[in-house]
């Protein structure tokens, strides 16, 4: 327990606190009045307003599009379902930068829609909303669909026998049982879209800016640290509130539902209605989830003879000091290190949380672990720069800085995946081993490890994909001569010219393939009882 707490204290709480302090403490006194000042600023209020309503709109749109998908995955059985499940999940682990470029390739200037019908959406909010749906489709399908598949269909049948119509039975029996899962999924989507950075940075242009983008702008371009600090606090408070509500919803959702084996509830589609629904879901998945990455790949191959890919191997001196292709090596190295750190810290935390009789304090830590998902990554990154630069922790010149920041985002995924599995290990199995002479360490190795090995691998895979795609913090601390893939893509996008654009597409494609492969490996490992994400 001590190790994860220390890790979060040093690499999370301290940098964030230091940034806030630097921004708001002038000449030894706290300038709390700054909060009011910033909130009165019409530009900032516009950002706050936009952040909130785009998050609400994204959440609503995602639920609207994904709930039929959740039903189809839960209740219908059709050929290729497993493949489709993977296809739907891939976007969730894709780096935000990749999603941004993919949608740019689809709806942006010179994008597919522009070519075909002259339609451009990259100057409108629709591009952002669609990208958010793309991202979070899997969150809804997995969370809601997962529970839906385990609800006993006979409950609904019982209601029908008592005289309820099909719709009434659904509304009165299934919907109430599902609502905690829907609420939990909606809150997660809201959390992810509220703190959205990479997507908005690329698709938003100068018009649209979320809190996170504004924090980045204030910090790195305007150097107005006090405004950035206020915005960080606002985001922190909002995320904290969302997490509290989320934890409450999840706990309420654990109420006594009669769950059955998911494999037995799915049936072949029957009747026009179900076939039409299945068709509609398939078309949605194809248009919304498959088309953008496909266009991305196509665009990256637009130049003859893999020219964009070949260009990646040259250092042109302008955008980079090194050939962009080197970013792949950097990214993989960093991601491996970050994954190791995240798995170590995350499993220690999960083990401590899973211990029976863990008190209120420890359960509070459970929710706290989710905070890095929502706290401004930009702040964390910048906080690293200003706090970890003096002894005893002088890491400024060290390569470990990047993996440390990325691990911070990976830990929540590790904990979320490991915790349910660890909690499911019967305490008496451990006691049986102890009575047979196993020391506490041997007990962990002989009893816990064999059971959680699979979950551990899945957690590692998630942490790997997340680290690979981490952008907000990395963009600050990755040194110019050692960019990661997302950072390199963002820089290429920011430059004019077809070659830079093409290279960005090519690099995004590579990043996407790496993430997709990581996920495919995961899906082979996934078991019934792993994780909530």
């Amino acid at each position: 327990m001590a190790v994860p707490v220390a890790f979060f204290a040093v690499f999370f709480a301290y940098p964030v606190a230091a940034i806030v302090r630097r921004g708001l403490k002038v000449g030894g006194t706290w300038q709390w009045g700054r909060i009011a000042d910033v909130l009165m600023d019409s530009g900032i209020r516009h950002v706050l307003w936009f952040t909130t309503w785009q998050a609400l709109a994204s959440t609503a749109l995602t639920l609207l599009v994904a709930l039929p998908g959740a039903y189809v995955f839960a209740r219908l059985d059709f050929p290729g379902k497993q493949v489709l499940r993977v296809v739907v999940t891939v976007p969730f682990v894709l780096p935000t930068v990749v999603v941004g470029t993919a949608f740019l390739a689809l709806v942006g200037r010179g994008g597919l829609l522009d070519d075909l019908w002259g339609v451009r959406l990259d100057t409108t909010v629709w591009a952002i909303l669609l990208a958010h749906v793309f991202f979070n489709y899997a969150v809804v399908v997995r969370t809601v669909g997962g529970l839906w598949a385990q609800l006993d269909p006979r409950q609904e049948e019982a209601a029908r026998m008592l005289g309820a119509s099909r719709l009434a039975a659904w509304r009165k029996v299934t919907l109430p049982a599902l609502s905690p899962a829907v609420a939990a999924a909606a809150l997660m989507v809201f959390l992810f879209t509220f703190t959205s950075f990479g997507v908005v940075q690329i698709l938003g242009g100068p018009t649209f800016s979320t809190l996170e983008v504004e924090i980045y702008r204030q910090t790195s371009q305007i150097f107005d640290l006090s405004t950035a600090a206020v915005l960080t606090i606002i985001q922190f408070a909002t995320v904290g509130a969302i997490l509290v509500v989320h934890a409450w919803t999840v706990r309420r959702g654990e109420s006594a539902l009669r769950l059955v084996d998911a494999a037995r509830t799915a049936r072949r589609p029957r009747g026009v209605g179900q076939w039409a629904l299945l068709g509609a879901v398939l078309v949605t998945v194809a248009l919304l989830l498959v088309l953008p990455p496909a266009v991305l790949v196509a665009r990256s191959l637009d130049a003859p003879g893999f020219a964009y890919y070949k260009a990646l191997t040259h250092a042109d001196g302008g955008t980079f000091l090194v050939a962009p292709i080197q970013a792949i090596g950097n990214s993989l190295r960093y991601a491996v290190a970050a994954t190791s750190i995240a798995v170590l810290i995350g499993s220690l935390a999960a083990a401590a949380l899973a211990r029976r009789g863990a008190g209120r304090l420890v359960r509070g830590f459970d929710a706290l672990l989710m905070l890095p998902l929502g706290v401004s990554a930009v702040t964390v990154g910048f906080g690293f720069l200003i706090t970890l630069d003096k002894p005893p922790l002088d890491l400024r010149g060290s390569w470990i800085l990047v993996p440390l920041a990325q691990a911070l985002v990976g830990v929540p995924f590790v904990v979320r995946t490991m915790l349910p599995v660890l909690r499911a290990v019967d305490e008496r199995l451990r006691e049986a081993a102890a009575v047979l002479g196993a020391s506490p360490w041997r007990v962990w190795r002989e009893v816990d490890l064999p059971i959680v090995r699979r979950a551990l691998l899945i957690a590692a895979g998630f942490a790997f994909a997340v680290s690979l795609g981490e952008f907000g913090a990395t963009v600050f601390i990755a040194r110019p001569d050692n960019p990661t893939l997302p950072v390199a893509v963002a820089r290429l996008i920011g430059r004019p010219g077809d070659l830079n654009y093409g290279q960005a597409m090519a690099l995004s494609t590579i990043l996407m393939v790496v993430c997709a492969v990581a996920l495919l490996v995961l899906e082979r490992l996934r078991t019934e009882r792993t994780g909530e994400l």
């Binding site: 049986a432 102890a434 196993a438």
Partner: protein, 343 residues
């Protein structure tokens, strides 16, 4: 060999173990008997080191076990539902304790074979735990607990999960195995049949305290108090005052054995000591119900102005429901109990 000295464990103000003193001698099989929630499992967990004592001490071979963690106590515990390791095969489960003691591979293999032979599962090493029946799981759990040669073997409801006929067979097997190996055993169970069949000595527990300790025969013949008597299934228990050879009860003046404690007390009449005679003689009762029990018929009798009585009758002599009968009592089947210690 095992000695508990005022062992107490409290859970949220309620005493699961309340100053328990208990001695178990070398090679002795002691069975703790009591209703669920009486603190039996807590007793085992305290000896195993899985449950810290709030006060009191546990000695094993005169060594104070206070502060010794579970894995260094050298005692074995067979769990109620076995808790076999699902990811290991039968051999892996049995060898687990040996591996923890760094036994060599050959040594492990030899010992595993030996034990699987002992429990009647020869050659089962490579079988998956999930493929075992309830009885087989129980045997594997026994082999696993015995493998490291524990100084003391503890069994928590060893046969609780099994069906009746299997239970009766296994309890005989268990006793035979322990006799042969000279194992010192401390078992807990709520089933008196199991306890009487298995134990050299039975300890009856109630609310974290020991209510009675003695050989199965002693406990059966002379329950220490009303609680023990009722727990053993005796219902003919009444308040009484004993004067000389007779006791005053709501059922009339009953003969008691010579040497019974005098004065106010509690009295038990075993169902076999209730003799049915012609309605014109003895205590007049109506037959309220009859229950067929295989070897005899339990007859529920209702006297006119007293609590009901249970009698055991031979199959052929049992009266019909509603019959009027007379009752006389047999002094040999009457016990004057000690007073119940009520808190």
């Amino acid at each position: 060999m095992l000695r508990l000295d005022g062992a107490s464990v409290r859970f949220a103000g309620h005493a699961a173990l309340d100053g328990v003193d208990l001695d178990v001698a070398e090679h002795e099989i002691v069975c703790v008997l009591g209703p669920s929630g009486g603190g039996k499992s807590t007793l085992l967990r305290a000896v195993a080191g899985l449950q810290p004592l709030d006060s009191g001490r546990v000695f094993l071979d005169d060594r104070d076990l206070n502060g010794v963690p579970a894995h260094r106590r050298g005692v074995g515990l067979m769990f109620q539902d076995h808790q076999l390791f699902p990811q290991r095969d039968v051999g892996g489960n049995v060898a687990f304790g040996l591996r923890m003691r760094s036994a060599s591979r050959d040594e492990q293999a030899v010992r595993v074979r030996e034990l699987l032979d002992l429990v009647g599962l020869p050659g089962a090493e490579r079988r998956a735990v999930a493929s075992l029946s309830g009885g087989e799981q129980q045997r594997v759990a026994l082999a696993r607990a015995l493998a490291p040669r524990p100084r003391l073997l503890m069994l928590d409801e060893p046969l609780g999960q099994l069906d009746r006929s299997l239970r009766e067979r296994l309890v005989v097997e268990l006793r035979e195995v322990f006799r042969r190996l000279g194992t010192t055993v401390l078992a807990v169970t709520h089933d008196q049949g199991e306890a009487f069949a298995l134990a050299d000595r039975v300890v009856v527990m109630r609310d974290g305290r020991i209510a009675q300790s003695g050989s199965p025969l002693e406990v059966w013949q002379r329950p220490a108090n009303e609680f023990v008597a009722r727990f053993l299934g005796f219902d003919n228990v009444v308040e009484t005052t004993v004067t000389g050879q007779f006791a005053d009860t709501p059922w009339g003046k009953l003969p008691v054995p010579a040497g019974s404690p005098q004065g106010p007390g509690t009295l038990l009449v075993r169902p076999t000591g209730v003799r049915l005679v012609d309605a014109s003689e003895g205590l007049r009762c109506t037959v309220a119900a009859r229950t067929f029990r295989g070897t005899h018929v339990a007859v529920r009798l209702q006297p006119q102005e007293a609590a009901g009585l249970e009698a055991a009758c031979a199959l052929r002599e049992a009266p019909e429901s509603g019959d009027e009968v007379g009752v006389v009592f047999d002094a040999a089947e009457i016990v004057v109990l000690g007073s119940v210690s009520r808190p």
